[in-house]
């Protein structure tokens, strides 16, 4: 079967703020619930300045490592974990998700969050993975991480903190985050 050529992407622009965010968008689970964790960080530009108008999406497996196929992300009921959420950065370029720790999808696999970045000035969406830092053996065996130059690996690994993880996204520069392309892109 011949591949069709995909329609081009375009920047999200500056004016999505009244359209795409919605109530509960960044709360995959209610914050404060016993097993809730925070995934948060800053989005920074090539000058190290915060990006206050980025939109991030989070897509992840559940705590047992299973892909979830449940509706309800746009109208959260507080009980259904859908695995997907979105949030805008604030004026300091900071974002926060309340979610669950993703589980390993198979024994020995390194769990990760899939994060997608949109923003004014970002002409097409950017994909990256935020790996959990705990399982050193799994990280050392991960096909994506091992395919990266050593000095770039850390940009894809979240840092544990008091309530969960911190994951900063650098769009450009010295410690630029690794952004991904997939076959058939």
């Amino acid at each position: 079967m011949a591949d069709l050529i995909a329609t081009p992407g375009q920047t999200i622009g500056p004016f999505y703020g009244y359209a795409l965010p919605y109530e509960g968008d960044n709360e995959l689970v209610p914050p404060g619930r016993a097993d809730a964790i925070r995934l948060h960080g800053q989005v920074l530009d090539g000058a190290g300045a915060p990006v206050p108008d980025a939109l991030l999406e989070l897509w992840q497996v559940d705590a047992d490592g299973n892909v979830v196929q449940q509706p309800g992300s746009l109208k959260r009921d507080g009980w259904t974990f859908t695995g997907w959420g979105r949030t805008s950065t604030d004026d300091a370029g900071h974002y926060t998700f309340s979610t669950l720790r993703p589980g390993a999808t198979a024994p020995g696999k390194a769990p990760f969050f899939l994060v997608t970045v949109f923003g004014r000035g970002v002409l097409n969406r950017l994909f990256t993975r935020a790996y959990l830092p705990e399982d050193a053996d799994a990280l050392a065996a991960d096909p994506l991480l091992t395919s990266l130059p050593a000095e770039r690996r850390d940009s894809c690994i979240a840092a544990a903190d008091a309530h969960g993880y911190r994951f900063d996204i650098r769009l450009q520069g010295e410690a630029e985050t690794v952004f991904l392309t997939y076959p058939r892109h």
Binding site: T7, G17, L74, L114, R125, Q172, G173
Partner: protein, 264 residues
């Protein structure tokens, strides 16, 4: 071409349209000479000033999709009410401007329909003004038009919205910069690797050649893929004009069998 340094302040509006036209033309000429076909926008496109400090400088890293990347979030009628597809009935009265129906079909890179999936749109009103605090140019807000809609595709991948034709609007990329009229689209496929946000344009817009965001797609055939067609069979008697815009997402990595087991 200008020899002045390019300001990284996206709101400086320091360059003239002629300077930006020159930058666009130089990149277009290099692209033609390269002989390599591009189908997506460049991330590094200096005529669009906001991209200067916001594009990755290292090439995107090839990843083989696994687990979560092979699936997309599931949306259903709990998430989206059918009336959200009509942007003209969200307030007490009729919005001003040209009422239009916008229809199209979403398929993946193998031509398979993207079924029961979320489509989100947002746009300026007929006067080219967004309901957004950052948009402060002196065009009227329409109290009967917010400019936000959602729908789910049907079993054959079709979407349909009723809205108002948006107007062009000024921005501060350079002096006297104007965006061609467009509607923003947010799209999901069956795999998260197909996630896309883009802009749909209207045929024959005189601002196409002047717009660095549109021209960041260096290939003219690729740019055409963002332009809707007027379709008189979609136009309705005494009610609304009709446009059609079909969308192709990137290829799925799941086999058709796996896609079937996805259905309830």
């Amino acid at each position: 071409m200008t020899t002045q340094p390019i300001s990284t302040d996206p709101d400086s509006a320091s360059a003239s349209q002629e300077q930006v036209d020159g930058e666009i033309a130089a990149i277009a000429e290099d692209y033609r000479a390269s002989g390599v076909e591009e189908t997506q926008p460049r991330l590094d496109y200096p005529p669009y000033r906001s991209s200067l400090l916001r594009h990755p400088t290292k090439s995107l890293h090839h990843a083989d999709p696994e687990t979560i990347e092979l699936w997309a979030p599931c949306f259903g009628h709990r998430d989206v009410h059918p009336l959200e597809a009509d942007l003209t009935i969200q307030h007490g009265g009729e919005p001003l401007g040209e009422r239009m129906k916008l229809v199209g079909r979403i398929v993946d890179g193998d031509g398979r329909p993207v079924r029961n999936q979320l489509v989100e749109i947002w746009q300026a009103n007929a006067g080219g003004r967004y309901v957004h605090k950052r948009d402060q140019h002196p065009a009227p807000i329409d109290p009967n038009f917010t400019g936000v809609g959602r729908c789910l595709t049907d079993d054959d991948g079709n979407y349909a919205f009723t809205t108002i034709k948006p107007g062009p609007y000024p921005w501060k990329n350079h002096r006297n910069a104007w965006r061609p009229a467009h509607i923003h689209f947010s799209l999901f496929g069956t795999d998260f690797t197909q996630r896309m946000i883009t802009q749909m344009y209207f045929p024959g817009d005189p601002l196409f050649a002047l717009d660095p965001i549109f021209q960041s797609i260096t290939d003219p055939k690729a740019r055409e893929r963002l332009v809707a067609q007027y379709d008189h069979s979609v136009t309705t008697h005494e009610w609304a004009t009709g446009y059609r815009w079909d969308i192709v997402l990137t290829g799925s990595h799941r086999t058709p069998l796996e896609t079937e087991t996805d259905e309830d």
